[in-house]
Amino acid sequence: MEYLPVVSTYAQSIDDAILLIAVLVGFWTVLTFTLFFWLIFRYRARPGQRAGYVTGEERQPKRFITIAHMLVLVCDVFIVIAAIRVWVDVKQTLPTAPETQTVRVIGQQWAWSFVHPGPDGVLDTADDIKSVDELHIEVGRPYIYELVSRDVLHDFSVPAFRLKQDAIPGRIIQGWFEATDTGSFDIQCAEMCGIGHGLMPGRLVIETPEQHAAWMARQGQAAGRALLASGRASG
């Protein structure tokens, strides 16, 4: 059963890292508590029997701690290696494929806004498409996002991508994603940003190249109509 859709190229590797941590930490947790309660029961108070005092300085009694400690450290090494591999892939690397496009993600109290490259595929040109609440992308295409905030701290969170990134006023933070399936998914703010923090949901719409081209064409027509209406009103 799938609790949360896996819709980015790196989502599974993040899930795997979390599973590895859960299994290793879970193993030691269960073992420790089992031993703990067994020792409490096994060496419970008995009439006429005094408790021994262990100073922790002798090698023989200390080995129960030392050996377990070493084994936990070995597990830590596995966790660190897994975490660094995921971190480097998700946070330290940007895609370089020629089909990569850039989108701008803007957080503000209390909405997400987006700037998409238009048909020319380049951001900050005349055909850019601006939207509120909805980010439209193509499945199978790598995207670099430029995350900015208009006011306070926000956090761009896309659970289906396993993506979370703080937006910090005054900074442009880059990251990337590549969708592996089409559909509509939640965008949330994961950083407390004021009274409307819980009321700024967005939608990520992942489309096939044909659907995305059709969406861009509709946006272009809408912009044209608005421009025409503006011209009529001012003229």
């Binding site: 909405a111 009321l199 209406a229």
Partner: protein, 233 residues
Amino acid sequence: MSNTVVNHLRTGLTAGLTGCAALLLVTFTPPPGGAAAQSLAQGRELFQLCAQCHGDAGEGDPAPGVAAPAIAGLPAWYLTRQLENFKSGARGRHFDDLEGLRMRPMALSLNHAGDIEAVAAYTAALPVRLPEPSVEGDATAGGQLYPLCASCHGVHGEGSEPQGGPPLHIQGDWYLRAQLVKYKEGVRGVHPQDTWGLMMRPMALVLTSEKSLDDMIAYIMTLPGEPAAAPAK
């Protein structure tokens, strides 16, 4: 079964049913004052959210990052219309409408039947606080253009429900100016469902210069909101 047992059962059943009926009556009886008082209480409770930006008395806050207009005393029909516009996205869903985007989720949170009407009625009943002017302009020059506005907003800035124009004299000049700029730039009054906004936009476009904007605002701030009292005979 003996008669005594049957009588006891009957007495117990009657007492139980009477108790349940009394409980239901207490639970579903509206508080004193009836539906109006209940609606007022609902409006007061909902207004706590508005007060976060608009102030406890609905006096507004022009501070950057808040920029919340005065809402105390605005007519309920106007408040209702704006809240519905915010909810539907007809207002406050433009990429460049920073303040509108802040307001929109607040309107979306009014999602129970009667919420909008209750909070609009409560806000409309709050005492008006006349704003201090902050925009400098030539009121006389502004007055030359005002007849265009008067057809909807009234000769005295009192507003008109049939014409859809809200009262202007109780609003802060900084807010009026900001909205005129939004209309001019197509940030407000461009959504197909914003019927009244679509009508307002061409009016704002008449104010072609910064000076004409300031002059108009300066004139609006001189409006009394009601006809001057006739001199005593």
